[in-house]
Symmetry: C2
Subunit: 332 residues, 2 copies
């Protein structure tokens, strides 16, 4: 295993320090925890958004802490859910009188631990609501997950619900918007190879020289099948097809897309995918309002990508394009 | 070779299409060329900045086309200099009455072809100046290069000279600022492994399981030596040491830094490097005004990173922090 680290035990702690050093204008550490919070939070009168999960998906989620997105991100160990008490620390650190919305990717551990933290908060009279993101169309149930997994579409929840909170909407309204994003977002991913969890020290699976895994999860969980690698255009067409099969999009409708790199995919290749994605949607007379492209929800150094699509109405479109200022997402 | 592409011949062309589809508010293609230009350019009265080089370094350089940075980027084939006529197309497309500054990374092919394009432009009475970036402290002379290579420090030139141009400074002044950036910027890189140029189809070199290449260039050119991989902290200390040895920085001085991923390095690891980098500079009582972290100047899917440091005075600091709005660099 070749990694640029010091010790496997200190990875998350040192990473969090490094994030704060890089972005002191956006985030600070909550002392003695694995929580990064927005500077100058809590902000009274504003619903606080908190997300998090296992580390190894950077810039998710700490990279999205800042104006118009998250108020705090909780980091677990690599590919491991944060404990309930760490999530509770985040709630205490940024919770305002307007309440807290937890944005949870659908993994059994995350759901359980975030929900326990919510109960702890309620016992201290902090209003907490949640939304569970389950955008992955590849498989029902999987390693670590009952139901569909939460993957890169989570970024749309951060952005859109974050903008609603920034506007001063109520907890009930922000939760409703977040759920609307989840209901209208789908993602499909694929990989050319595995990544190596530092504490494990070897790749989590192997693929042949000409083989890919279709539909895999962001921790290397199995997808739908292995197949021989085909062209970027064919992969894109197949993956968009899976999304549209699950969530029909009519001619004239408007969408946002994320072409997300899993960690080791050259931006060059993501742009080649994006070209085909746009041409397929244009053929269907579906309008693309917004394209996000790059590493948003990664799996350490995994080569591969995912496509996320969100169906937009006027409300979602406005919030998606509202100003944001975070380390990894800026909207001017 | 596993890559998400269609054909090796069409990579650059399809990538450029994909960039424009993703960022229509920032860039457009100059028809029939491999040039991406800023929308609404040329801008009369403003010096036009043009950069470029071989493809495979994305987001460099097209990702930096937009307000406050570049007016055009010229894309060569992968790791291959763009031809003089393509650079000339860029000059014609965005050149204004205020003139054009070419930002050239120091590779023999790039320098020759950009200079030939400058001569072609002068024959048509377009004022052209140039700056050659040679920030890599690792080696003197190398494959493809006489003198020091131009690497990730080029981003500081784009940002700072771009801000000066946006302010309406004269060609002479913008060139002088760009040269000042070059004079005050140093970079050192390392790699854990090679990348694969699509047209070649196999990795450009090999390293043992526990081996790294120190000081290598962004096309996989040899560095100073191979060594056993050490800790992130040790690597960072060594690399910063090389930079400071070449460009002494005194207590009390102020710097900007780039912790740059070469394409396949998890952001997690870059943050661990950043933590140590900050602590080393803080120990020396050097103040860090700005930290850029992520994939700025990549080598396809190469695992590894570089550290760039720029010494800042008040003028450079102001320009570095001026507003910018491009696909890959936004300053609010």
């Amino acid at each position: 295993m070749k990694k640029i680290i010091n010790s496997t035990e200190e990875i998350v702690n040192e990473m969090l320090d490094g994030i704060v050093k890089a972005h002191p204008e956006h985030v600070k550490r909550v002392e003695g925890t694995s929580v990064l919070k927005r500077v100058n939070s809590p902000i009274q009168g504003k619903v606080a958004l908190i997300s998090g999960g296992g580390s190894g998906h950077e810039p998710s989620h700490a990279g999205f802490v800042g104006k118009g997105m998250l108020d705090a991100a909780v980091a677990g160990e690599v590919f491991t859910s944060p404990t309930p008490d760490q999530v509770f620390e985040a709630i205490k650190a940024v919770g305002s009188d307007a309440g807290v919305l937890l944005v949870i990717k659908n993994y059994s551990g995350d759901v359980m631990n975030f929900e326990m933290a919510a109960e702890m908060a309620e016992m201290e009279d902090i209003k907490v609501e949640k939304v569970i993101v389950n955008d992955d169309v590849a498989v029902e149930n999987s390693t670590y997950t009952t139901g569909r997994r939460g993957v890169a579409g989570t970024i749309f929840v951060h952005k859109i619900a974050g903008a609603a909170a920034e506007e001063g909407r109520s907890l009930e309204e922000v939760q409703k918007i977040a759920q609307k994003v989840v209901d209208n977002t789908r993602t499909m991913g694929m990989s050319l190879g595995a990544c190596t969890v530092p504490a494990v020290g070897k790749p989590s699976f192997t693929l042949a020289e000409d083989e890919i895994e279709m539909g895999l999860g962001i921790h290397g969980e199995p997808g739908t099948h292995k197949e021989k690698i085909s062209s970027a255009d064919e992969l894109t067409e197949y993956m968009l097809g899976k999304i549209i099969q699950d969530m029909p999009i009519e001619k004239g409708e408007e969408v946002g897309v994320i072409v997300n790199g899993l960690g080791a995919t050259p931006l060059m290749e993501l742009y080649i995918v994006n070209r085909k994605l746009h041409s397929l949607l244009e053929e269907k007379e579906i309008k693309i309002n917004k394209t996000l492209i790059g590493n948003y929800m990664t799996s350490l150094e995994m080569p591969g990508f995912s496509i996320s699509v969100i169906k937009l109405d006027e409300e979602l479109k406005g919030l998606l394009n509202a100003k944001a200022d975070t380390p990894a997402f800026k909207e001017i």
